[in-house]
Symmetry: C2
Subunit: 137 residues, 2 copies
DNA sequence: TTATCTGCAAACATTTTGCAGCGAG
DNA sequence: CTCGCTGCAAAATGTTTGCAGATAA
């Protein structure tokens, strides 16, 4: 494999002003934010990016695993930059939103075995933990 | 307590034709359905109920714990009549919606220990498993 | 130059709400 | 009779898409 790969059909991602702005916004916060909120953050940074572009960028980032995307309780998509590159879950404070990323080989194994037991294939799962963090007690 | 309770301020739920139709639709299937799908089910039963009423009814039923409401992977609300009264999770088929209710003492114990480890209190969690069931493979 | 990206606005899908009329108790 | 319930259609979200023009390589 060579370092450059101009194969026809290869994506070729461009580091545009808009994408840098989204990345900067994501870098400036530690908690999960909606597309609207990220759009507002960019505006506060003095930048100007269309909302559709924010969506498209977040979508791409979550596909490549650079951000975590999950759904709030009312079904809205929320994103956060992801420090771990592999599958993991979140322990989120109900009060202040403080988030801890946790890994669960135990859980992964359990869901896989449950699924296998019932003959289900192509398994995925969602697991989020909510609680009150030490400083909010 | 008497059988009737006309206390001022008490809701006073009326068993109307529409609510019975929603209940019948929920009773006729075992899996999670969207509001639209439940609306269609009612139509197939030969009944006719407004979609807004379906939403209002499902909302009330989920508040009283008579149905489970959860979110599909794309953020859509889906409902199912609830057979278990205690905490449990779901293994849901992406294609046909076939659902298995599963219990996870393993998971409950794991989430509790993770939370304790980070000093979080008053813990709750959401866990849903999605896959393709045997008959949809 | 050329393929990708962006902005805008319109399209979409889901869910909520306002209001006049209907219906159960 | 009265209040709650329903239907309809409009509004409110949140998200996606089509397309012409801008832009990185």
């Amino acid at each position: 494999m060579t370092s450059t790969d101009p194969k026809p059909g290869a994506p070729g991602v461009r580091p545009t002003r808009q994408r840098l702005a989204v990345a900067a916004a994501l870098a400036s916060v530690d908690d999960f934010r909606s597309a609207q909120e990220i759009h507002d953050l960019i505006a506060q940074q003095g930048d100007q990016v269309g909302l559709a572009t924010v969506y498209r960028t977040l979508q791409r980032l979550s596909e490549t695993g650079e951000v975590d995307m999950l759904r709030s309780e009312d079904g809205e998509a929320i994103w956060r930059r992801c420090s771990e590159t592999h599958h993991h879950h979140h322990l989120v404070c109900r009060q202040c939103g403080a988030t801890v990323e946790v890994e669960g080989p135990t859980v992964e194994r359990w869901t896989d075995s449950i699924a296998a037991e019932h003959g289900y294939a192509d398994i995925s799962h969602t697991l989020e933990i909510f609680g009150t963090c030490p400083s909010c007690r």
